[in-house]
């Protein structure tokens, strides 16, 4: 599905507004949209709302063998999925340019900045290390997916707890959360990406562009920074030329934003921790707002028992009737299918009698004849393909018995009853 196009007048209007230092949603130039961080009920699940933009991150882990070049380091894996839910322009299963760009930026922001102690993820050097996998799903794209994804990913990593492991000699035991408390990852710092959009060849600058602004921007500068004001990655795209002073100013803006967001993440983590400690319900189910008319929630409801018993019995009784009317389909011999509905297959019946009493010559022979014809037809067909020069009947039969029995059986095992029937009758003839 194509994205809705942006009309020229919309574009002109947006650019005019930006020139006048106005934004569609009433923000100031350096304002972020409202950020909301919620955690799921299991560890390592985080939802981030950045205005209307919404992403979800889920961290998972598994034990793998490490890379040969780094035998005592855990592996970090990031996967940002541009789900078609987020925007009609995103297609399933296709690596778009945007998806590659965002994935790469997320990796540079979180893996290459060494914010996570990968050595602490080693269980047995050279044999077993933890692989931490971060899946970021985009749910709604209203611009600035990168910032939302980076906040979601780092919050999820902070929230995540991996199972404890015990090593006795050679044996590695992974303890379930009930046996031993799971362990948080050791995180050195929290890099957060801040996006700055440039308009009119770098004349105007906006922080946290929304989707409409992203469409009319000339260039984008993404700065990943931690609260110690250390730049973890910086990327400029769109091909605009920036002055040194501009970049410096952007990094200053970023540092302010990053410290704000870091505080917010820490606050959210603390809130979640206290909620978990208090034993109250936490998670996504609790985050459904109650005050909206679009949302509704019910308590646990028991299905009315009074009626159920009667309906069950009545339905069972009425449901039992149909099988008596319609003769149940017969499965004459295991592996033999029946053609048609409710009709007794004469082939099947004959076969059944065959197995049971090995008698019934008169009826059986007729079938045999039929089957023989079948077989001969088949053998001829096979013959034409396989052996062109053989003309004698006996030789032909030889070939049929030896060759197609193995190949045809292997090719379509029991797919048609005719073939199988032919094969069995052939065996009888041989006897």
């Amino acid at each position: 599905m194509k994205d809705t196009p942006l009309s020229n007048c919309e574009r002109d209007f947006l650019l005019k507004a930006i020139e006048e230092k106005k934004r569609l949603d009433g923000r100031q130039t350096y304002d972020y949209r409202k950020i909301k961080i919620t955690f799921g009920s299991d560890y390592g699940c985080c939802f981030v709302d950045l205005g209307q933009t919404r992403v979800m991150a889920q961290v998972s882990c598994e034990l793998v063998t490490p890379k040969e070049s780094r035998p005592n380091e855990g592996i970090m894996f990031f996967n940002l999925e541009l789900s078609p839910m987020a925007s009609p322009a995103f297609e399933q299963g296709r690596q778009s340019e945007l998806s590659v760009k965002l994935n790469r930026q997320l990796e540079r922001c979180l893996r290459n900045s060494k914010c996570i102690d990968t050595e602490s993820l080693c269980v047995v050097s050279g044999e077993k290390v933890w692989q931490i996998r971060v899946d970021v799903h985009t749910l709604n794209n209203d611009g600035n997916l990168m910032d939302a994804a980076s906040v979601a990913a780092i919050s999820a990593l902070c929230h995540f707890r991996r199972p404890d492991v015990g090593i006795q000699g050679e044996e590695v035991t992974v303890y379930s959360p009930e046996e031993r408390d799971p362990i948080p990852l050791s995180i050195y710092h929290m890099p957060i990406s801040v996006s700055l959009a440039f308009f009119q060849q770098g004349t105007y600058l906006l922080v946290d562009p929304c989707e409409r602004e992203e469409r009319v921007m000339d260039g984008l500068l993404m700065i990943a920074m931690n609260k110690h004001r250390e730049i973890c990655s910086i990327q400029s795209s769109g091909g605009i030329m920036l002055l040194k002073e501009q970049v410096m100013r952007c990094s200053k803006i970023a540092s302010v934003k990053v410290s704000e967001i870091t505080d917010l993440i820490n606050k959210a983590l603390l809130n979640d921790k206290t909620a978990r400690k208090a034993g109250g319900r936490c998670g996504f189910a609790e985050s459904i707002p109650q005050e909206r008319i679009t949302a509704l929630k019910t308590d646990q409801t028991s299905v009315e028992m009074t009626g159920v018993g009667e309906t069950v019995s009545s339905i069972v009784q009425t449901a039992e009737a149909p099988p008596q009317k319609v003769p149940s389909p017969l499965l004459p011999v295991p592996g033999v299918g029946q053609v048609g509905e409710g009709m007794r297959n004469t082939w099947g019946v004959e076969e059944e009698e065959d197995g049971d009493s090995s008698g019934g010559d008169s009826g059986e022979e007729a079938v045999k004849m039929e089957e023989e014809q079948h077989k001969e037809d088949k053998s001829r067909k096979v013959d034409v393909v396989e052996i062109l020069d053989s003309e004698e009947e006996e030789e032909e039969e030889e070939v049929v018995i030896l060759y197609p029995e193995t190949t045809e059986k292997a090719k379509n095992k029991g797919s048609s009853s005719g073939q199988k029937g032919a094969a069995t009758s052939r065996k009888q003839q041989k006897k």
Binding site: K2, C45, L139, F284, K297, Q300, V312, V316
Partner: protein, 220 residues
């Protein structure tokens, strides 16, 4: 014949729903059943790829995204179950040569995932304002090793169960639109599960009704 003793387990976990929570899709909903939650988004009717075009009705595409990793065989089978149910209830012939896309994102799986997917899908389709011949809902029943029937089982109950069945039930006549089963069970047990699911579906349809009434009301 085994008599099913209506147990205390025949209850539905608390469930909730929020509609129109995403700005981009034409219709969206998130459905929560206990801890299980699924988010659904619908796009359409929109233009369709020529290769997928059907001349007399709309093409419905259902995508299920798991929480961890990429969609696999399990997701494909869920997609098919949901798609067939939606196709049966949607009036697709009203929108010929167009596409409908339904995307389901699993937010948390704590049992009865398929029924939650179905409920979220129905809510999202309602939110998108698509014409349907009837509404549908999903109910999951588990039969424990003792032969007890549990509706809306949790993940732990699902694991211990002998058989697991999910039915999609329509709102008009409470008939079964789709069934997906796992494990072994007798005909009687199947009928009992269907009967219980039909009973449970009334609760869910009442919830649908309440949420729509609330949505179009002037006050909370």
């Amino acid at each position: 014949m085994m008599e099913v003793s209506p147990s205390e387990n025949v209850s539905l976990r608390e469930f909730g729903c929020e509609q129109t929570l995403l700005s981009r899709p034409d219709g969206s909903a998130s459905f929560v059943q206990g801890d299980t939650s699924v988010m659904a988004g619908v796009y359409g009717p929109a233009e369709v790829k020529v290769s997928k075009e059907i001349y007399d009705r709309a093409t419905l595409e259902v995508l299920v995204y798991p929480k961890v990793g990429l969609p696999g065989v399990r997701e494909r089978s869920q997609e098919q179950c949901v798609r067939e149910t939606c196709e049966a209830s949607l009036l697709l012939s009203l929108h010929p040569r167009s596409s409908l896309t339904l995307i389901l994102q699993v937010l948390h799986d704590a049992g009865s995932l398929l029924s939650c997917c179905l409920n979220a899908a129905c809510m999202a389709l309602m939110d998108a304002g698509l014409s349907m011949s009837c509404l549908f809902c999903g109910v999951t029943c588990a039969i424990s090793t003792e032969g007890e029937i549990i509706t809306d089982p949790t993940a732990a109950q699902e694991k211990e169960s002998r058989a697991l069945m999910t039915f999609a039930i329509d709102s008009k006549e409470h008939r079964v639109m789709m069934s997906s089963t796992r494990g072994s069970f007798s005909v009687q047990e199947l009928q009992q599960c269907i009967a219980i699911s039909q009973k449970a579906s009334e609760k869910i349809f009442q919830f649908y009704r309440d949420s729509v009434r609330r949505r179009y009301s002037k006050n909370l």
